[in-house]
Amino acid sequence: MPNWFPSLADWSWLDTRIVITAGLAAMACALPGNFLLLRRQSMMGDALSHAVLLGIAVAFLTAHGLQAAGILSHDSYDATRHAVMFVGAVVVGVLTAVLSETVRKLGNVEASAALGVVFLVLFALGLLLIRLYADRVHLDPDCVLYGTVETAAVDGRLIRVNGAMLAVNLLLVGLLFKELRLAAFDPGLATTLGVNAGVMHYGLMAVTAATLVAAFETVGSILVIAMLIVPPATAYLLTQRLWLMVALSLVVAAASALLGHVAAIVLPPLVAGLLGWDSNVGASSAGMMAVAAGALFVVAVIVSPQQGLVMRVLRRAGLRVRIAEEDLLAWLYRAAETLRAQPATQSAADAPDTAPPNDPLRPGWLWQQLALRRLVRRGQVQRTESGPQLTPSGHQAAQDLVRTHRLWESYLQRHFGDLPGERQHRSAHQMEHYISPEMREELAAELDRPRHDPHGQEIPPPAEQDSESL
């Protein structure tokens, strides 16, 4: 049993609460994140997560000022602070969107630069305020930036806040699903159908900012962007249906919260052990949750059913094997043909149609062996003492291939007659794998069913017709 396992044995109700809190926050963030991602405004999430700091700082200072002025009792301080914080964040969120749009339009500045200028200035203001008054209002910039899920999970308030935010977001997405989908995929159509683009845009910004504020105490205002964009991006790779993407993003968000916390407990002792230090160390859960989300994303990149790297490699390998098989069939057919024509004047070496042994287009040895084994298994080729031989069904397939090849050569000869024969052969060598039977017969019809290709080789008749006539 690995020596890090005991570290998980200490799992307590606190760990469960941390995972639930963070999971709720991550799921609440992932919902608006889906639409940011589809609207290609992911960096807007980054900008908002930075700029919201100003709203938080101003809210803290306002609440503190009210308390200091005696307007606010100590009991209502926390509640007021949170209310002000939400309002401040929503205002700053919309402000970021409005200001960057203003700078872009007024100054003719490129959109991403305008966004950068605005959110960095707001963030700098927030940072400045926090560091000016941090000691007075008990606001630690570290807590804002990285979150304090480990300590804050003790009381149930964060669970309630994040749960409420998740419920609100679910409700909004549920009610406005059609409008959101329309505005994300076809803003022009959305506008003509009466969906107000401006309201959708600024509404999304406001909801995102509010969600960020709800989540910042859990995962921190910067890591929140990991929860905003990474789970939807992961889901985006896995499906092409919007509702499924939204659902999957929720699953991924929850999973990254759980995995992140487990990793935060499990991994640091491992690293410390590797470096030869005392293994009594822990990592920030919020940070590890971002890393876990990233890890899930990488997994999706690799194994996604449609565009995953594995699927791509498999698809490409399948294509290569098919090409190798077809090349082998055609080669065997030509070899048999040359053997039959041996008494004629033309020697085998002169036949330009036969793939020469050192053909650069020839698939590699490994592919050839693989192709041979598959052909034998399918009964199109049989192994004999003098080498592989075509079976009747293999002969039919090969005949069609060679027919395609020579028809394409004839076609090239007719329309691009000045192409040298070698080039015609190369092109036909590639095209024979992609031309469907219907297209082959179209070619034949257009060329008035020629009997011989430009090199004087006979163009075999279609295999099925052949077998019918027999």
Binding site: L106, L127, Y236
Partner: protein
């Protein structure tokens, strides 16, 4: 020629950078060996802020302006170099429309710093805090981050913005986690590393500035040497590829420069804000010029100025952290540029638009006068002609006040003369101008009828839109086009449609 000028500019910037690095170092060498000339020379952060708090405001200002303080000199040199390098590299990033990639590079640098610290501690305990090691880690991690962005774009169907956001957040999360691990390490507290996140300009040392100036010099020399290629990349990617340049290679090189700037700024403004030095000065410089070398130079100047300004303000008021103040200083320069630059500035464009509306109003007024005179059967060839205000008011949907204002303005320019309260007299100059305006209008109308098959009833509206911006060359072309059509072309041709205002004339 422009490239040579730009190279000269870079040489100047490098010279500034060199001078900037040399004098604090030289000063340091003077001060450290012997007894310091003043107790202030070997100050640390703590006594910098203590000391800065003690003397009154004017003393601090004098100290700052005369550069008497060794520490102030170092801080100013460091931040100015950051601004210069950031401006130059940011110019290319802005024009490449990749302004936010810098944000990814700087956030991605965080795990690099932590890993470099851990590795160095593992290899040689106690060496982990060596600045060069940490900055090397930041550089490598920043480049790895950009590499990940490229990989995501290459192997998935996600767009650039999503790739940026993913890499930025995941790397930053990794960095935060590693920092908490480092914090729990027996070899101790992370105080020195924490400064990288928020910056600690006041605590820059001569060694830091040395590293900073080497990085800045490297970035500037690279940018100067590859100026032509980088501008090609920014303006015509396809042409660069056709010329045999690897676009990906050039992009990576540009990212390398960005990583250099990040490393320069990571100590003074911190990695959260350093990207501002890549975006804001360059965006500000864009307002002033359309010429790339000039823009590069100006961005360097603006960046340097904001570095100096910010660090200066922060030295005067030590409670204000330098990093955010530098960014805000850059933002102020950006705001000034956005509003007051002569061509692209907001004010200039507003002024331009107002001038156009004024001209449109003036020309409408004059053309109305002409049409009234013409339909009244008065001789327009006379020197002066009188138009009644009532008729004018009925013709244009202007209020009496508006009309009076326009007339007063035209009067000031000598186009009208006021004879009585309800009549105005159009002066010979005014008549000339009115004739020209009406002629332009009708030439365009004729052109539309002749060549664009527009119904005569509709041409008035279209001609209204274009008559104010008809240049003399265009008028000459119109005359040429319509030469065979109307024998009276040298005069004002008759209106091809019924003029609406005739109802108002008796």
């Amino acid at each position: 020629m422009s490239v040579r000028r730009a190279l000269l500019g870079f040489a100047l910037a490098i010279g500034v950078a060199l001078a900037g690095t040399n004098f604090p170092l030289a000063a340091g060498e003077h001060h450290t060996p012997g007894s310091p000339p003043s107790a202030k020379s070997s100050a640390t952060v703590a006594d910098l802020s203590d000391r800065a708090r003690s003397p009154d405001w004017t003393t601090r200002l004098v100290n700052l302006l005369t550069l008497r303080d060794y520490n102030t000199r170092i801080v100013l040199a460091g931040t100015a170099l950051l601004g210069v390098a950031g401006g130059v590299v940011g110019t290319f990033m802005l024009l490449r429309k990749r302004a936010l990639v810098g944000d990814v590079v700087s956030h991605a640098a965080l795990p690099g710093i932590a890993i470099a610290f851990l590795l160095a501690e593992a290899l040689a305990p106690g060496e982990g805090r060596r600045l060069e090691v940490l900055l090397l880690g930041a550089l490598v991690a920043g480049l790895v981050g950009v590499g990940c962005v490229l990989l995501i774009r290459r192997f998935t169907r996600l767009k650039e913005d999503a790739a940026l956001a993913i890499v930025l957040s995941v790397f930053f999360g990794l960095g935060i986690s590693l920092f908490t691990i480092v914090q729990d390490m027996p070899s101790g507290n992370v105080a020195g590393l924490q400064g990288f996140i928020y910056g600690k300009a006041a605590a820059l040392t001569a060694l830091d500035v040395k590293v900073i100036s080497i990085c800045a010099l490297a970035a500037l020399v690279l940018a100067a040497a590859l100026f032509k290629e980088l501008s090609l990349l920014c303006f015509d990617e396809g042409y660069a590829a056709a010329q045999g340049w690897s676009v990906v290679g050039l992009d990576l090189l540009l990212m390398g420069l960005v990583a250099f700037v990040t490393v320069i700024g990571i100590e003074s403004v911190g990695l959260l804000l350093v990207v501002a030095m890549l975006i804001v000065p360059a965006a500000a410089a864009r307002f002033w010029t359309d010429h790339l070398p000039a823009m590069t130079l100006l961005a360097a100047l603006l960046g340097g100025a904001s570095g100096l300004l910010g660090a200066g303000v922060s030295a005067l008021a030590p409670r204000l952290a330098a990093g955010p103040v530098i960014v805000l200083a850059a933002a102020v320069l950006f705001g000034i540029s956005m509003f007051f630059s002569p061509h692209r500035g907001v004010l200039a464009r507003v002024r331009e638009r107002r001038r156009l509306t004024r001209r449109i109003k003036r020309q409408h007024l004059l053309r109305t006068c002409y049409e009234l005179l013409e339909s009244g059967g008065e001789s327009i060839t006379a020197d002066e002609a009188t138009v009644s205000l009532a008729a004018l008011e009925a013709d244009r949907d202007w209020s009496r006040q508006q009309l009076q204002r326009e007339i007063a303005k035209a009067q000031r320019d000598g186009l009208f003369r006021r004879t009585s309260t309800d009549c105005i007299c159009v002066t010979p100059r005014g008549l000339d101008e009115a004739r020209r305006v009406a002629r332009n209008h009708r030439l365009w109308e004729l052109y539309l009828i002749e060549h664009a098959d527009v119904a005569p009833a509709r041409v008035d509206r279209y001609a209204d839109l274009i008559e104010h911006v008809l240049e003399p060359e265009v008028v000459a072309l119109l005359e040429q086009q319509l030469a065979g059509h109307d024998p009276h072309l040298q005069e004002v041709p008759a209106s091809p449609h019924k003029i609406a205002s005739t109802a108002a004339t008796p």
